[in-house]
């Protein structure tokens, strides 16, 4: 009997394989119906809530920022407390460009992305070394250093007063930024969507899979020939570039860059949004950012102190009881429902 594979066991194993293959997203996967429906939401919001377009573009941009952290945290498993640094670099790059006479927005985005990517690439050498605690401290330290630098270099950045006088030319020479936020919303939506599609493609590529593999077992990946440090550096750089684009969008749509774009509270809030929505699933960042910003807009209107308390409370509850955030909870519900249906 020994050595002869049992027929039913083989069947089980291959069934498991098929299941596993079905669960791992294939590199060329398409948008599902649910995803298409999701992306229709902002379009509906644009027409349904014309008074909230400014808030809406904030949601979209912050959502993109959260997606950029998701690449680093949710997919690569690098805990970063200084991700706002790259957001801020992007914002200042785009803002300074516009202040000093280059008003074209799309090239501004690209410059911001490149600036943030270069900074991210340089930082990644420091971040990839060391364990979780070291990474946490190094990202925190880099973020604080940058804040301090922007604060002291007031002659360039405007210091705590922020950088004002950011004037942006009409997009493609056609669409002027208006006070109601119509152009800003559409511009943000288009850019966020395009970047999201690229990020989604990266995540579902073999490269994305190997990054996830590093998250699951960093010590085992070298055994199958994956260059761990190089992969992590690459994904960190990509995350920084995307954060830079988000920062540039904020600078261009609000026509102002505040020093708080670099601050620690922003990095912390971003972590909260991502965890609230559910890390490691791209859409978690978007959902979390939407809920966070809408709740903030509503609750801090009542009392800013209460807002801070509830956000802390929420965070504690999510960590203790609601692992996986909102999308994780929905997944669990759907799974239970599917099991019952069977």
């Amino acid at each position: 009997m020994a050595g002869v594979p049992d027929a039913s066991a083989v069947a089980t194993v291959s069934a498991v394989h098929v299941q596993a293959r079905a669960r791992i997203a294939l590199p060329n996967d398409r948008f599902t119906l649910l995803e298409i429906a999701f992306w229709l939401l902002p379009v509906i919001a644009f027409f349904a809530f014309p008074n909230y377009r400014v808030l809406g573009s904030q949601v979209l941009i912050t959502g993109l920022f959260a997606v950029s952290l998701d690449l680093i945290l949710g997919y690569a498993g690098i805990v970063s407390l200084g991700h706002a640094a790259f957001f801020g670099i992007g914002a200042y790059a785009a803002g300074l460009l516009a202040v000093h006479g280059w008003h074209e927005p799309i090239s501004g985005l690209l410059v911001a992305a490149i600036a943030a990517a270069v900074a991210g690439y340089l930082a990644s050498f420091l971040v990839v070394r060391g364990g979780d605690l070291t990474r946490l401290m190094v990202t925190l330290g880099l973020g604080l250093m940058l804040w301090e630098a922007a604060n002291k270099a007031a002659f360039v950045t405007g210091g705590v007063d922020g950088l004002s006088g950011v004037t942006i030319a009409p997009i493609l020479g056609l669409f002027r930024f208006d006070i109601g936020g119509r152009t800003a919303f559409v511009y943000a939506l288009v850019v966020v969507f395009v970047v999201f599609v690229i990020v989604r493609r990266i995540v579902h590529s073999p490269f994305g899979l190997s990054v996830r593999g590093i998250r699951e077992g960093g010590k085992r990946m070298p055994a199958i020939g994956a260059p761990v440090a190089k992969r992590l550096r690459t994904i960190f750089t990509i995350g920084a570039a995307v954060a830079g684009i988000a920062g540039a969008l904020i600078a261009q749509t609000t026509q102002f860059v505040g020093i708080d774009t670099l601050g620690f509270p922003r990095s912390a809030e971003l972590l909260i949004m991502l965890v609230l929505g559910g890390a490691g699933r791209l859409y978690g960042g978007l959902v979390g950012a939407a809920i966070f910003i809408i709740a903030q807009d509503y609750l801090s209107g009542i009392d800013p102190v209460y807002w801070e308390f509830w956000i802390g409370f929420l965070l504690v509850v999510v960590v203790l009881f609601a692992h996986g955030g909102i999308l994780g909870g929905l997944d669990a519900l759907r799974e239970r429902w599917a099991r019952r249906a069977r």
Partner: protein
């Protein structure tokens, strides 16, 4: 010039010893439970507010408020440890970080709600104010007092860890919690007591530090980096490491702000990144 330098050095040492007394508990939490507790400053804030409220509302003298600050922070620490923290010892660092950021935000909101957002004033008793003339130098009495208190506390802690039964239980649990539990040490109880002790020391430091560090609801966030820095540079789970790291940090911070005001806090952050990269396990860290 030289006198100036010694004055800066002295202020730096006083500042550093304050950082040490607050952060030493964090070092234990990190070394013992591997818990990344960003909310450690909140316990110091508890101590600070206990001191201020006792002084201003109940008229208790400053020195008498300090033990109360210690006890209050220790009790808060113990309750939180049993109710919440202990559930997360086995969680990922990310969960611990998020959880403790949540605690920080809540503590800031609660402090603002109860005590208002402004800086709390402290009036030190007259015998702790002013300057003394030692060897041709003018030294602040309060800073001298701080250094002496911290030196005594450090000796007491060292004694507690090295010479008592509880201390050897703590060291055994740090080295290998599983084996320690196997030898009949109640590791959970050791964890809880050490957490309470660390929180208490932080509360004491918060009370002592009102005059130097200030006290307002954003305290836990403002000094979070400093405490983390002391621990991660000093290496966790020892007393000597954080002490030396805190003193270096204190001196560099004060000197940086004194001699290079245009650079300010930059010195500290740069120092931190460099030290972390050169000594990934801390100055006195045990090699993992």
């Amino acid at each position: 010039m030289i006198g100036n330098f010694i004055g800066v050095l002295f202020d730096g040492l006083a500042y550093g010893s304050l950082l040490f007394i607050i952060a030493v508990g964090l070092s234990v939490t990190l070394g013992l439970m591997n818990f990344v507790n960003l909310a450690h400053g909140a316990f110091a804030m508890v101590g600070g507010y206990v001191c201020v409220m006792l002084m201003t509302r109940a008229g208790v003298p400053f020195l008498a408020t300090l033990p109360v600050a210690f006890v209050a922070a220790a009790v808060v620490g113990l309750v939180l440890e049993r109710a919440l923290y202990q559930r997360l010892y086995k969680s990922s660092p990310l969960d611990q970080v998020l959880f403790s950021i949540g605690i920080v935000f809540m503590s800031i909101a609660i402090a603002t709600y109860w005590f208002g957002a402004s800086q709390q004033p402290v009036s030190l008793p007259s015998y702790l104010r002013g300057q003394v003339h030692v060897l041709g130098l003018d030294l602040g009495v309060y800073r001298l007092f701080l250094i002496v208190v911290v030196a005594l506390l450090t000796l007491a802690l060292q004694y507690l860890l090295d010479r008592t039964r509880f201390g050897s239980q703590v060291r055994a649990s740090v080295d290998n919690a599983t084996a320690a539990a196997g030898l009949g040490i109640n590791v959970n109880r050791v964890f809880a007591l050490t957490f309470a002790l660390g929180s208490g020391l932080a509360g004491l430091g918060g009370g002592l530090g009102i005059d130097v560090l200030g006290l307002d609801p954003t305290f836990p966030l403002k000094y979070m980096v400093y405490f983390l820095l002391v621990v991660s540079v000093g290496g966790s789970g020892t007393i000597k490491g954080p002490l030396i790291a805190a003193l270096i940090l204190g001196v560099f911070d004060v000197a940086g702000k004194y001699y290079l005001p245009q650079v300010g806090g930059f010195v500290i952050y740069a120092l931190m990144v460099v030290l972390l990269l050169v000594f990934p396990a801390g100055l006195y860290g045990r090699r993992a």
